[in-house]
């Protein structure tokens, strides 16, 4: 069981945390909302909670709440650029369907 960061994602996250000036790592998760079932959570983490599942990737802490893990196991977080837009993208093998925009998904 693991959730990982791509080289690029790790590089940018490291950079963002440094500029933000605080944070122990990044918190990923899923929430039940959105037009097609589930939605991703992507936040800075200021502390590790007692129940957190913690992965290390490229020297960065990736935190998940245990309930999110089954939906995200094997996921790689990537950083991509599309035209002027840039941001993070979840490559999640568990996903069976996405809404048109890809902001929410079903497993």
């Amino acid at each position: 069981m693991a959730v990982t960061l791509s080289d690029k994602a790790a590089q940018h996250i490291g950079n963002f945390i440094a500029k933000r000036g605080k944070g122990v790592g990044i918190r990923l998760g899923v929430r039940t909302s959105g037009c097609s079932g589930m939605a991703y959570k992507l936040e800075f983490a200021d502390e590790v909670l007692a129940d957190d599942v913690v992965f290390e990737s490229h020297g960065l802490k990736v935190l998940l709440d245990p309930k999110s893990l089954p939906y995200m196991d094997g996921t790689e977080l990537d950083f991509v650029r599309e035209g002027l837009n840039e941001g993070f993208k979840f490559n999640n093998p568990n996903v069976k369907g996405e809404c048109g925009c890809g902001e929410s998904f079903t497993v």
Binding site: R27, K41, F44, L84
Partner: protein, 622 residues
Amino acid sequence: MALLQISEPGMSTAPHQHRLAVGIDLGTTNSLVATVRNGVPQCLQDEDGKLLLPSVVHYLPDGQIVVGRKAQATQATDPRNTIVSVKRFMGRGLKDVAHVETMPYDFVDAVGMVRLRTVQGVKSPVEVSAEILKDLRLRAERSLGGELTGAVITVPAYFDDAQRQATKDAARVAGLNVLRLLNEPTAAAIAYGLENASEGVYAVYDLGGGTFDISVLRLARGIFEVVATSGDAALGGDDFDHRLFCWILDNAGISLPSDRDSRRLLMKAREVKEHLSFDDSVPIRLSLDSGDEVDLVVTREVFVEITRPLVEKTLRPVKKALRDAGLSPEDVKGVVMVGGATRMPHVQKAVGEFFGQTPLTNLDPDTVVAIGAAMQANVLAGNRAADEEWLLLDVIPLSLGIETMGGLAEKIIPRNATIPTARAQDFTTFKDGQTAMSFHVVQGERELVADCRSLARFELRGIPPMVAGAARIRVTFQVDADGLLSVSARELTTGVEASIAVKPSYGLADDEVAGMLKSGFEHAQADMERRGLAEQQVEAARVIEATEKALVTDGNLLNDTERAALDSALGALRDAAAGNDVRAIKLQLEAFNRASNEFASRRMDKSIRSALAGHKIDELRI
């Protein structure tokens, strides 16, 4: 697949509910758009990787509108339809625009705000600015992958209500939701993270393309308050270009260049100025359409010399702001430099010498304002947790007040009061049976309305008839977070109310504001005397009116001799009141009071008798 950004802990947004907010620095020379992405504030680039959008709009004959660098390129070939530095015309009339004679535009002097005749018809500065804002909005939406929730747009601290309103209108035309307008120096302070700095007083020296602002900020317990602002709304990097332009004309022996040549020479002057920040001397070579050849070398020494008066001119408002704040240069803990023109070494040196310390220049002076606006927009859009929110206080640049009897300006909100704010003051009627009151809202530092700027007029009707001085009318001034004013008047016994949102007519000059401030200080003594005179005149008029009325109803209480004496005292008072001698009016008022004493006491007796007539003693409650 939509691309995601990292949120603050607990602030993840639901799908399709991203609160995309930007900060926009709508500058005279260049404009920028910035946002906070992944917790990091950054300026957004265009397709060519450029951050600065030249504030230039080119109207083409085929209906196309080109904005930015491409428009800049046509400055020399189509000057009439290529509008640069439009910010200088926002909310201003033709007479308020400096250097009109050297500008290649076809100005149309419309009521309020000046218009520009282009190949696409007559355009107002609001429309031209909207084109710049629209370009930035599209850039932001392409960069952020969605529609914007809102924007914070910065304006010079000196912008008056007309100019702020014009800026808001331009944003609306551009399809932007304005979260709020923010003073440029205040935005710079946010960008420098001064809220995390040690407590104390900071100065923000902002020499942009077309405006100069100085702000004195006090930081206490993580909150900043702008304690004083000052500046010169018609002084900036463009003026340095202009000085160099004039120097080139003089030294190349050119007089009255064509529109196109003027534009090319001005562009050259700007380019040379920028190089002189790094090089000791720069050659100027240009072949003009007129056949004149320009072949000169300008040294930094010469440039410093010809622009010295401009640098010195910036220090005057600096001194005034400090004086307003009751501070001296040593009290200032840090000086922030903002605006591309602060890259000039001799500007940095002059500021450093004035404050006795090296000014802060570590952030890019071109982007700090946009960055600060983006940080503010991020908070206002709700992307930061509530407990992290900082409070930002701005000030109003000129006192706001109302005209009272005698043409006096009664200040209700003093200048440098923090906004948003609301202040109320009670007024009363001047004449018996007065049922309406007209309000004249004015702005300025002078004591007489004639010397202040008129903002608006409105009337309160339906006041129940009462004797003079009995009605209580509460006038409330409210200034919102954008610095826009609304005034209401309410008669307290009946609750009748009238109000007005002050949306002043366009075209009120901002250097007029600077001038008004200055004249407020210069004329302090004369104003005080004129106020004293006006007050005495109002008092005399009130006494004369009351006496005349009393004589009509109770004239029979006096015998002929007494009546003649009173009439003569009244005449003397009337004569004195018509003159300009405060002491004479005061003396006549005192003399008249003595002369009318007996009459007043007889009237008192009479009214008591009539009140008591027909009543038995035990009916009276004492």
